[in-house]
Symmetry: C2
Subunit: 339 residues, 2 copies
């Protein structure tokens, strides 16, 4: 199996502001010969997520910076094509973190086997993976929604937001989304069953929030920060909970913009709590059980936006910040034998 | 006892921006004849607190707006001078909410008896009263400091802040204050035993916080918001807790200023939680027990700034916003017979 050529997408330049496709390069390099204990796999799906923008900075926040000239990191679903490990056999499907490249090699300690009979393989990168756990743990453990309460979520058509609103509905809450186009809003309400969705680009936020949340806002699941957070703070109820899960609105900012005035937090005795999924792996079991059940029952629909071909990863990634995609953004790097 | 003339300080004008003494008037009006069940008392001490600024707005936040032409509200320690109630006798000392006036009348349901043998009467408005419970409950229940952690508090020389740092020391934490003059800083460290104090008006905040908090900040007890909160967010540790107890820096703002960028909350999985003491009355018993013990032992020193004469209340109140006072600001309205 040696002699294979790997292909990867590397970061060639740390962008200031919005990244460009020219900040990336597609490079080829040999796949190393497998040592004893090693596992070689072919990437089927690559996950594209907003957090990767943070990796592109020289000084990273909660992630280590990407190294210029090496493939960008990222979650992957792969199939084992050669194994010198007792733990993995050729043909096994695995969840890993091989990044933006066609093949991955390691001792297998970074891999988790996937059972394709239980759920489509790609779900391990979305609804049953990191974005799913992010939606589940931040909503349940920080948002603590009670039946009858109002849950608002930004980036409602995205990988995480689309799940948050659906989980809120399962829990008996009023689910209100915020999204950047009428088409996304229609999708979120008609296809995913949110009670309402506000186009934050065209609708006056205060009036729209008031109309969509007649009883005020108990939980605001925030993926974006910025103007939407500021507007939401004007409508929160006593004791409101705000999981701060993302600040997409400022990931491309050169200098950090100011945040919202926090007077409402005091007046309403509300809280904003930063959330990173890495702290919540202890919830994995409950999450897998609940989410699998909800998907099986049809109360949570899984939405994927799949781009074909590794070479299209940079452009697809940039679309995350211009609101192009709906649902979980994936790159199909090679054909999925289970499909 | 009828025929007494009451004297009160009323709000004559809702100020935009910084209040002036001309926004207040000193007026006289008769004390009503006592009805069956009534209690008449003479004010000994009036508490002046930053929250009163909120009352001066037409649209109040967490407090109902003051009515123009009636005495400003406020906590008081008084002595009963006439009683037609079975619950109170002439000579009793009581904690009440009679506001900026020399006499108060009610059915007594709003009064709590004070025992002058246990602590100086005025403490009921400060260290053993609302500011004390504010310091105690927000620090313990939101800040949750553990021994060895670093606790930073703004307005450290004030009624609440001076207690917060001392409680933090009792709990085995490193206590770092922020105050607006070198004199206050010296007072906070030398007299109250804080480990360090930063003059936020003259010292570069980032460097000073770094030097005073070599292990980062675990708890930031915030009384002021504004630039100090912004700077502190750059130095918080993983899982930091920020009780937001006051926003003194903006109480006189005509339009709400922006707040801090919240990226650090995400990166550090930290929380900001708005606090109002009215939600924490269930902590009263534990607070009284602990704080009385700490005061008795000398591990918490009580600092009062007492202004003589009701007519000086407006000017003293304005001083709260220009950093004039140290410790709990009180007006001595009439002589305290226990002193």
């Amino acid at each position: 199996m040696s002699g294979l050529t790997n292909r990867g997408i590397t970061l060639t330049n740390r962008p200031a502001g919005h990244p460009q496709t020219s900040d990336f390069a597609c490079v080829e390099y040999p796949v190393p010969t497998l040592l004893e204990g090693g596992v070689l796999r072919r990437t089927l799906y690559l996950s594209l997520d907003p957090y990767m923008r943070g990796r592109m900075r020289e000084v990273a926040g909660y992630t280590t910076p990407a190294t210029l000239g090496t493939p960008m990191v990222g979650g992957t679903v792969s199939q084992v094509i050669e194994s010198k490990s007792e733990s993995f056999a050729v043909g096994d499907y695995v969840l890993g973190y091989d990044g933006w490249q066609e093949y991955g090699v390691s001792d297998g300690k970074d891999l988790r086997k996937l059972d394709p009979s239980k759920a489509p393989l790609s779900y391990a990168l979305g609804a049953l993976g990191m974005p799913g756990l992010t939606a589940y743990a931040a909503l349940l453990d920080i948002g603590k929604p009670k039946a009858g309460e109002t849950v608002v979520v930004s980036a409602a058509a995205g990988a995480v937001g689309s799940l948050v609103g659906q989980i809120a509905r399962v829990l008996g809450c009023l689910a209100v989304g915020l999204a950047g186009s009428d088409e996304k809003c229609r999708f979120v309400t008609e296809d995913l069953g949110f009670d309402a969705c506000i186009n934050y680009k065209t609708q006056p936020l205060d009036e729209a929030l008031k109309a969509a949340c007649p009883n005020g806002i108990d939980v605001y699941y925030d993926n974006v920060a910025g103007a939407v957070l500021e507007a939401v703070l004007g409508h929160i109820n006593l004791g409101a909970r705000i999981p701060l899960v993302g600040l997409i609105s400022q990931y491309n900012a050169v200098t950090p913009p100011p945040g919202p005035n926090l007077m409402s937090l005091l007046v309403k005795r509300a809280l904003i709590h930063g959330f990173l999924v890495v702290d919540h792996t202890h919830r994995e079991e409950a999450f897998q059980a609940d989410m699998s059940k909800w998907i099986r029952e049809g109360s949570v629909k899984v939405v994927e936006d799949t781009v074909e071909g590794l070479e299209n990863a940079p452009e697809a990634f940039l679309g995350l910040f211009s609101g192009k995609n709906v649902g979980k953004l994936l790159v199909k790097v090679s054909p999925d034998p289970t499909q």
